[in-house]
Amino acid sequence: MFGLDTKDTRLLLIVAALALLAPFLLNPFPDGSAMAQFNAGYPDLMQRFVIFGIFAIGFNILFGLTGYLSFGHAAFLGVGSYSAVWMFKLLGYNVLPGIVLSVIVSGLFAVVIGYISLRRSGIYFSILTLAFAQMSYNLAYSVLGNPSSNFNLTNGETGLQVYTSDPQLLQTAGAPDLPNLFGVTMRSSVQLDIGPWLFTFNAGYYLCAVIMLISFYVSVRIFRSPFGMMLRAVKSNQQRMHYTGLNTRPYTLAAFVISGMYAGLAGGLLSTMDPLAGAERMQWTASGEVVLMTILGGAGTLIGPVLGAGFIKYFENIFSKINEGVLHGWFGFLPDGMENAAVWVVEHFVGPGWHLTLGLLFMLVVTFLPGGLVEGGQRLLRLFSNRRERNKAAKSATQSKPAE
């Protein structure tokens, strides 16, 4: 289906099902229960899952396939965000022009940066991209963002936002004063009450989810295309490619630009969900984050980057919010002394300590699952299927011994 083989089609359908049912799947615990803290099925976080999923999928096209490790992809995310907000400022709150422009502008930006950076490979390439992104960040944070200067492109630390004095040329009188798609605001939600559960279906989320599915689909197509194969060949042996009559530069540049456009798209979507673009989006830590997402999930795999993005965002948003009060709630059933002890121990890993947990998990995952979360999943699957097979194979086992 869709020009994919059955395995990929199945993967795509699973991802689609997960994305569309996310409001249910991410809210497994009834409201008000102690575990409700772990629910992730609210619009903002779900949006982040899919948007950063897009970012990571795009990054993976470059890194996973060609092995070129860009340390400056956040620059494209930022450029995309700024472009979208500028569209809101100039044209109005319909999200379409913003999304389109963010992809175009980040693509152009990627052409320039990629053209220069791809002259080098390995760590030298990484540092070149890093340098470009850091320059963009520093300039966006200060020189290009001074509200009192005539040239205020980014609005500095505060972040670029829409002011009532902005032109908004296409904003019609009745249209909502919030990002919307032909009148449906990104913020609008439908809620469904089932017993103690409350499920929220948010317009913005579904827009992002659909775009994510399209992005994912495109990435599967790229992975399975001759182009994708060429990119893997670049990673494997550039020398051989040259002597096989292939010019690697346009291949890597195309991959770079495509992944830059994915990043720009993600940035644009971030702005449509929340119309403010901050400079930190371009900082090296943000570039590092997408690297971590991709590796954590499994670089070079189709679904890995999305998993990695979800994993990191989940920690950032859920674990950081568990505070002492919540912990006392959980351990309230214990006798006082033990309650305090338990709270004291766990406290180090949640709330302000969520970074610690994240750091430890990075170390554990990469040490024990070299292929990232995807490998973890595969091992689990293999464990189950092995058990089944072992039962089947038990009888014939004697024959399969190496015989000379």
Partner: protein, 413 residues
């Protein structure tokens, strides 16, 4: 309206930096919030609820609903802060968001609360923009701002150092730095000081030596450090290393001024801060009843005195609760109306006005100085003068605050 509390409880969202360079400020803010919640729910000794001029709070929660809270990490990044605030609103049903310790974050979160239809009670934010260019109907600021720092400091500086001074500014190159510098330059120039130079320094800078060195031969005799947090600790340390404090220019002693002060910064700067003048929103050594009550209950609970960050956040929480009580509703528009133009006393800052036009609090501003011989680690800062509120008040359409528009209060869905 958004997140109308229907059950027996009401949820507030405390959005503070738990990681990053302001994590200590964030931790202190959180302590204050927890204390405030305890007091609102009738626990503890009641703290400033006893000294607060408005007597609507009864220690039975807010409008009879028990106060619960959720916390989040802003990481001092506008993005993360907004994400965290959004999740509090969308997931936890918070009806008010408060906290933060940077202007960028405050402006970003304030904008979000405006769109989402909840009240935002800003924590630490000192930029003029928060209640100037970026003011919002749903947002309120108790903390003072850069203009007020300038206005409070200038006369003291004139007293201490005369009106013939030539100032050299180092300014953190971001929004807060710019407004701070603009304010202090205007205030000092009005007294006859000259501004020799203003040099912008990158926010990420850690070693300021190459910015300090040119000061030596610039002919300036005052160095103004428009820096905050780690920036300020480092630039001040560097300035002292380069011997600026022992320096004499044209027969007068060279002086350093740090317009925005905090206890935590003073601690970070150590020896170097001694005798250096700056301004603060509040200090635990003030002798009014509100302060004493607050220091007592905070000190009992945590074992050390509260910072100005703690006081601001505590006051914001009480102010919000009180406004709800007086309005009789959690509706942001009703709460906003109750806060607008509200005059009160007993929260540690003397008589205070929440101005209707821009939602900025007007109250006395402290001019402080690094203590020469601190008796212990809590006495690093001493109060030089309490600048009366009249001297720091400005019209709401003052040019430094122009271009803003509160808009209409938004109660959300």
């Amino acid at each position: 309206f958004t997140n109308e509390p229907t059950g027996s409880t009401v949820t507030l969202g405390f959005n503070v930096p738990q990681t990053g360079p302001y994590a200590d400020e964030g931790a202190d803010e959180l302590r204050a919030y927890e204390l405030a919640v305890e007091h609102l729910n009738g626990g503890g000794d009641g703290g400033m609820m006893n000294t607060f001029s408005s007597k609507s709070l009864k220690g039975n929660g807010i409008l009879g609903k028990k106060v619960e809270y959720v916390t989040g990490d802003t990481q001092t990044k506008s993005d993360a802060a907004r994400a965290s605030a959004k999740s509090m609103i969308e997931k936890d049903g918070a009806v008010m968001i408060t906290g933060g310790s940077s202007s960028g974050v405050a402006v970003a979160v304030q904008g979000l609360c405006q769109e989402a239809g909840v009240i935002f009670m800003a924590g630490l934010t000192h930029s003029n923009d928060t209640t100037g260019k970026d003011r919002k109907a749903n947002g309120f600021r108790h903390f003072f701002n850069a203009y007020m720092s300038g206005a409070a400091l200038a006369p003291v500086l004139q007293n201490l150092y005369g009106s013939e001074r030539r100032a050299y500014h180092l300014t953190a190159d971001y929004n807060w730095g710019w407004t701070q510098q603009e304010s202090i330059q205007a205030a000092t120039e009005a007294l006859g000081w000259q501004t020799v130079n203003n040099v912008l320094t990158p926010l990420a800078q850690t070693d300021f030596s190459s910015y300090i060195a040119p000061v030596i031969n610039s002919g300036a005799d005052v160095l103004v450090l428009n820096h905050y947090g780690g920036n300020m600790v480092n630039s001040l340390t560097n300035a002292v290393q380069f011997g600026l404090r022992e320096k004499q220019v044209n027969g007068t002693d060279f002086e350093i001024v740090v317009p925005l002060y905090s206890e935590l910064m003073a601690k970070g700067a150590g020896q170097n801060i001694k005798g250096i003048v700056g301004s603060q929103n509040w200090d635990w050594k003030l002798q009014d009843e509100g302060t004493k009550a607050f220091v007592q209950s905070f000190g009992q609970k945590y074992g050390f005195p509260p910072s100005q960050a703690a006081q601001t956040c505590y006051a914001q929480t009480l102010l919000y609760a009180d406004a709800v009580e007086r309005a009789g509703s959690f509706n942001p528009c009703a709460v906003g109306a109750a806060l607008e133009g509200f005059e009160f006393d007993g929260l540690g800052n003397g008589p205070t006005l929440y101005r209707a036009e821009d939602h900025q609090c007007f109250k006395d501003v402290l001019v402080v100085r690094g203590a020469e011989n601190p008796q212990d680690e809590f006495h690093l800062v001493e109060i030089v003068e309490v600048t009366p509120v009249g001297q720091v008040t400005y019209p709401h359409d003052h040019p430094m605050f122009a271009g803003g528009d509160l808009g209409k209060c938004n109660p959300g869905v």
